[in-house]
Symmetry: C2
Subunit: 331 residues, 2 copies
């Protein structure tokens, strides 16, 4: 089976669609193997085979994953949760050494995604419009006085995994209170505009962005896009190409963008398959196929904008049933 | 087509599974018609036919629904959203007059479900254990002093549709602050135990509870059960039967229950298909079939507990794609 294009999906969780798409695109040319630390991750049961693994923080995690890669002759490895992206990026070389290609950007780029202020500095330095952000509240106060920014603003932790909720605040008093209670906060401009998401694939061989799918977010639910509509806009395609090439992203990423008064502002990047990727796939933007091409040694042609606009995506709940799970989970 | 067992599902939203189940159970004996005020309700596109209708609050809504019932020779009508349950219950007779049976409890019972304090009083009066609740904060303070209840407690609006979030509070000061800012609040005991959900069908002809499915909630997400496991417990079956017969519920309801120190406490009732009903259906508790039997003139036999325990349900996102929706939604 040494030619099999086997793919490993780490921390698959509830991302059943991603597993389904890889299986469909492999179409027998390889297996999809999935892992999760819980046997109640429904996407496990979509895969050709699965492993219940330790939690990422636990000792021996890297060895466990390396051993799965070797045993299953894994050609590409990807993760669907944020903390593991740093892990994959850091250990890129050990995986490459055994012939498994992590579909991930380099460590410094991944880390920038998880530090909103670093991302802000990078974007500003490179002349990309972004959301005005401050870690220095005195600087913010003086910008308020100078009329550069006005209330309301958002106060949020600089690093993504929020220990406090994001707060919309309207006064200096509230900012003082939050900054006195929590460390590592930043103040961010409130963007009153339209929100977009872009799924972007940068070829692992040619290093060129080869697929971009843009959707306008119509309805959010619990922090996720619940309904969206596909959009084509050459100005935004060019902006995204520039941004991706400048910042050095590789593989699949998901970008959040705001449009205010006709101008696009880059907000955040998730260097993995975004929760809204199924919209792109069902519209013909086939990233699993592009990944398979890459691990098969073939670069992909530029297919940016190869989809129809005005296509709507609406999420709903599907369920997976698992029988006889006595003692399978702890209460 | 006068013998067709056509069913109308109002405000179907994202409840695709419910529409699918009715279609499957009808199996050609009738049509499933769905409505929603938005054409971005994915469940519309599962139905045999659908109508985009005005919002429920808008004038002419009742006439619009009655006219759909007449046009399609609807035999049963149900709604999947809370505000519309009151509407259906209030107008039961007009629907019955044209031969469409609303699968809903009577108005007083439905209203009790939306008033947490009325429900508390009903349960207490009828000797059912429930969550200790207060609308009189002075009474609460004196019970705290007497050692009847202790902090933390929840402060929440008496009526379901929350204009403020539910707050977990630990002091008199916080309670005073919340009561000074909002009307119609209640204080509710914090239940430190296991949470269960029960899907219950009370036959529309025999008025007897004929199906009960109990699941332990393993994981919640955005207020919904994300993972659950089926449970069988005769003590709880008896408690639920008693409760349902005492309170006069009809049709399909969903009950929230807590277990603390081996005792069951009834918390809330949704007099409609609960969000977790697919777990019951996939475990063999076939409420759509029971509804179809009823509108076909046949009562259902007691099937309480006819399912396996230890069956796990895990939700994940499925998507529906809708092409060419130019001008189909407003921005």
């Amino acid at each position: 089976m040494s030619d099999d294009l086997n793919i490993l999906i780490l921390s698959c969780g509830t991302r059943n669609k991603i597993v389904q798409y890889f299986k469909k695109e492999l179409d027998g040319r390889g297996l999809v193997i999935a892992t999760d630390c819980s046997d109640l991750a429904p996407a496990l049961y979509e895969a050709d085979d699965y492993y219940i693994v330790p939690r990422m923080e636990e000792e021996g995690y890297l060895d466990a994953i390396l051993s799965i890669c070797k045993q299953n002759n894994i050609k590409a490895i990807l993760s669907l949760i944020d903390p593991e992206l740093s892990f994959l990026a850091e250990h890129q070389q050990v995986f490459l050494d055994i012939g498994s290609v992590p579909i991930i950007s380099d460590s410094d780029v991944v880390e920038m995604c998880f530090d909103k202020y670093k991302m802000f500095e990078f974007l500003t330095r490179n002349d990309f419009k972004t959301i005005n952000s401050y870690i220095d509240k005195e600087q913010f106060y003086s910008d308020v006085e100078a009329g550069v920014i006005k209330y309301p603003v958002f106060v949020k932790p600089v690093r993504g995994s929020a220990s406090i909720n994001i707060s919309k605040v309207t006064s200096k008093e509230e900012i003082e209170l939050l900054f006195s209670r929590f460390d590592n906060l930043m103040i961010q401009e409130f963007m009153d505009g339209t929100e977009y998401g872009a799924d972007v694939y940068t070829d692992m061989i040619s290093k060129e962005p080869v697929a971009i799918f843009i959707k306008e977010k119509i309805k959010m639910r619990a922090g996720e896009t619940d309904k969206s509509v596909s959009v084509k806009d050459n100005q935004l395609f060019e902006l995204i190409k520039n941004f991706v090439k400048n910042s050095g992203f590789k593989g699949i990423i998901d970008i959040d963008i705001f449009k205010v008064n006709g101008e696009y502002y880059i907000s955040e990047v998730n260097p993995r398959f975004g929760g809204g990727y199924p919209h792109a796939y069902e519209s013909g933007v086939n990233v699993p196929e592009m990944i398979i091409n890459n691990i098969n040694g073939n670069p992909n042609d530029d297919a940016i904008g190869h989809y129809e606009d005005g296509v709507c995506m609406m999420k709903f709940n599907e369920i997976k049933i698992l029988k006889s799970v006595e003692n399978a989970f702890s209460k």
